[in-house]
């Protein structure tokens, strides 16, 4: 087995035993990138020199007896997270030559943990999209079939992990941007609860749903990375302190109807990080108490029977482990997309106002200030970004605000209430991540609305701020091609460890 194909856990063992060095591991990844990335096109920037220097530093720490789950582990990072001294483009012409002056908090955590940054991955421009075709630079390919998309918006990170160009990767998920590409690429994608991980240094898109999350080869690896990057941050007022997490979880247990909530009682509920490894929770789930909900609105007659079969196989596996499968209803599911595509553009129109051509980003030549704004932004932003800015500007404008933006915010409440009701009965919810496997490049980007409908199963958890992950659920045959498809597990807010412990038994 080549070193770049190792999981984090496997590499950790070998590094600690002195069988391999962090430099060898890093070189194996860099070699694979050099070999394969001209075809798959996952990386916007590769920082080989700094990666090798970081690897040598990690080797010194390991030799000195230093311990740590990610010490010496090479990773890639979605290019909408700030990396000090390294180009950070958001896959936009607007930031084509932008050098981040500071590290995002998650990058800082990973640096301190001794993880090695190999480079920055491609995305839909400013994370606006579901296929990575909206990148201003190039289209990333799905490693399972190069004529297909990797999903998006974190398509570069997903494809890179699937192609073993790194051991793990960071992404961001605003309305499915980690889970859907993880499903398309056949890997594990974790979107944590809103507030679980600091977003300081993540280029803001939709502030009320944006989260940072992970792409890994296994569920156990996701737990290892989460453990390092989670936690409150004074630079992000929406990040949740440990005592708040603990209180929220206690309250959640109390709202259960009788007979439930037993499954997770044994698990560590502190929500604190960097104490015990999340991976150690794997044995703490009492499956005989576990209740899994299947929302009927996600399993309609329109769902591809081949996809349904794979998800039901996951349900059966949970059943064989002792879990009870319960049909639940999330009646407002169909409003998820319209709500999301009003709230998201609205917040985008506000968040992207900061790109004014002054001090950073593309600056046009113009005589007066207003022309300067219009020209800098008109030339710097790509088509989907402009579309969303205008849609949001419209939804927030006088005369339309109540009918569009406020209406969407009200229906958002109903979507959240649906989840709250369901979680009185069940501990986790199981759904398909996407209604289909990866589609062909160019097949859906002719009509923006078609692309928006991609998010049908993933917006709910985002709007409600719930943790959700996509795990591989096998492959289905499409046009003589075996393509991966993912199962989505949604948990109650801040129950990441429990969600991962359940998923680990399925992985």
């Amino acid at each position: 087995m080549k070193l770049n194909e190792l999981t984090i856990k496997e590499a950790r063992e070998r590094l600690d035993k002195g069988e391999i060095t962090a430099l060898e591991l890093t070189n194996a990844c860099l070699k694979e990138i050099a070999l394969k990335d001209s075809e798959i096109k996952t990386c916007l920037t590769v920082c080989a020199d700094s990666a090798r220097a970081e690897a040598q530093e990690a080797d010194k720490r390991i030799k000195a007896g230093d311990k740590g789950a990610l010490l010496g582990i090479p990773y890639l990072c979605k290019d909408n997270l700030m990396t000090k001294g390294i180009r950070t483009t958001a896959a936009s012409k607007m930031l084509e030559n932008y050098i981040a002056p500071y590290d995002a908090t998650v990058i800082k955590h990973l640096k301190e943990a001794g993880a090695i940054l190999l480079g920055k991955t491609n995305l839909d421009e400013f994370a606006h999209g579901a296929s990575t075709e909206n990148s201003a630079f190039f289209v990333t390919k799905n490693p399972h079939d190069l004529s297909r998309v990797p999903g998006g918006s974190s398509g570069g990170s997903a494809a890179a992990v699937a192609a073993n160009l790194c051991l793990f990767a960071l992404g961001s998920d605003t309305g499915g941007s980690i889970r859907q590409p993880a499903s398309f690429c056949g890997i594990v994608g974790l979107k944590p609860s809103y507030g679980r991980i600091s977003r300081f240094g993540l280029l803001s898109m939709t502030s009320s749903t944006d989260v940072v999350g992970t792409f890994t080869k296994t569920v156990a690896d996701a737990a290892l990375v989460l453990d390092i990057i989670a936690g409150a941050d004074e630079n992000d007022a929406t990040s949740a302190p440990a005592d708040f997490i603990s209180e929220t979880k206690t309250l959640a247990r109390q709202t259960k109807t009788s007979g439930s909530a037993g499954a997770f009682n044994l698990a560590n509920s502190s929500g604190s990080t960097n104490t015990t490894s999340s991976a150690s929770l794997v044995n703490a789930i009492d499956f005989s108490q576990l209740k899994v909900g299947l929302p009927k609105e996600y399993f309609t007659k329109d769902l591809d029977p081949k996809v349904k079969e794979k998800i039901m196989a996951v349900a059966n596996k949970l059943k064989s482990l002792g879990a009870e499968i319960i049909n639940v209803s999330l009646p407002n599911t169909k409003y998820g997309i319209p709500v999301y595509y009003l709230i998201t553009p609205s917040e985008i129109s506000s968040n992207l106002a900061r790109f004014d051509g002054i001090g950073w980003g593309r600056a046009a030549k113009a005589d007066n200030l207003q022309d300067f704004y219009r020209k800098s932004r008109g030339a710097g932003f790509g088509p989907e970004v402009k579309r969303r800015i205008m849609l949001g500007t419209f939804a927030l404008s006088a005369g339309y605000y109540d009918a569009y933006y406020k209406k969407a915010q009200a229906v958002r409440t109903l979507i959240i209430n649906d989840f709250n009701q369901a979680f009185k009965q069940v501990d986790i919810i199981l759904t398909p991540t996407s209604p289909h496997p990866a589609f062909k490049i160019g097949a859906q980007n002719h009509d923006p609305l078609t692309m928006y409908l991609e998010d049908v199963f993933v917006t709910g958890a985002s709007l409600a701020g719930l943790p959700a992950l996509s795990i591989p659920a096998g492959k289905i045959k499409v046009a003589n091609q075996e393509l991966p498809i993912g199962a989505q597990l949604i948990g109650q807010r801040f129950f990441e460890e429990e969600l991962l412990a359940v998923a680990d038994k399925l992985n």
């Binding site: 030559n97 009320s208 949740a240 595509y341 008109g378 849609l391």
Partner: protein
């Protein structure tokens, strides 16, 4: 919902986006279609429903009102990416 070219130009102006005539026509059709689609929210009764603006659940997150110095290398890197004059960022005349 049908949008006119004038409406699109007005939205573009509010958004400070320079659009070509082709773009105006493209977005006129596309935004109209999207707004037509999201109209389905009107079938939901929401008179008695509170709106959700954020889901953090946190309230009154304050910090001490103290200035913190930004590391000078980061400050320099941040400032170095715009047009400068005498160490300061140069901006166009506002008035």
């Amino acid at each position: 919902m049908k949008l006119s070219a004038e409406e699109i130009k007005h939205i573009a102006e509010l958004s400070r986006l320079d659009l070509s005539d082709e773009e105006v026509e493209k977005y006129r059709v596309e935004l109209g279609k999207i707004l037509e689609y999201v109209k389905m929210l009107n079938e939901v009764e929401t008179k008695k429903v509170d709106i959700t603006a954020q889901v953090s659940g946190l309230m009154d997150v304050f910090r001490k009102d103290e200035a913190k110095s930004w590391p000078s290398d980061e400050l320099e890197l941040a400032l170095s990416q715009g047009e400068r004059e005498d160490g300061s960022l140069k901006v166009k005349r506002v008035l």
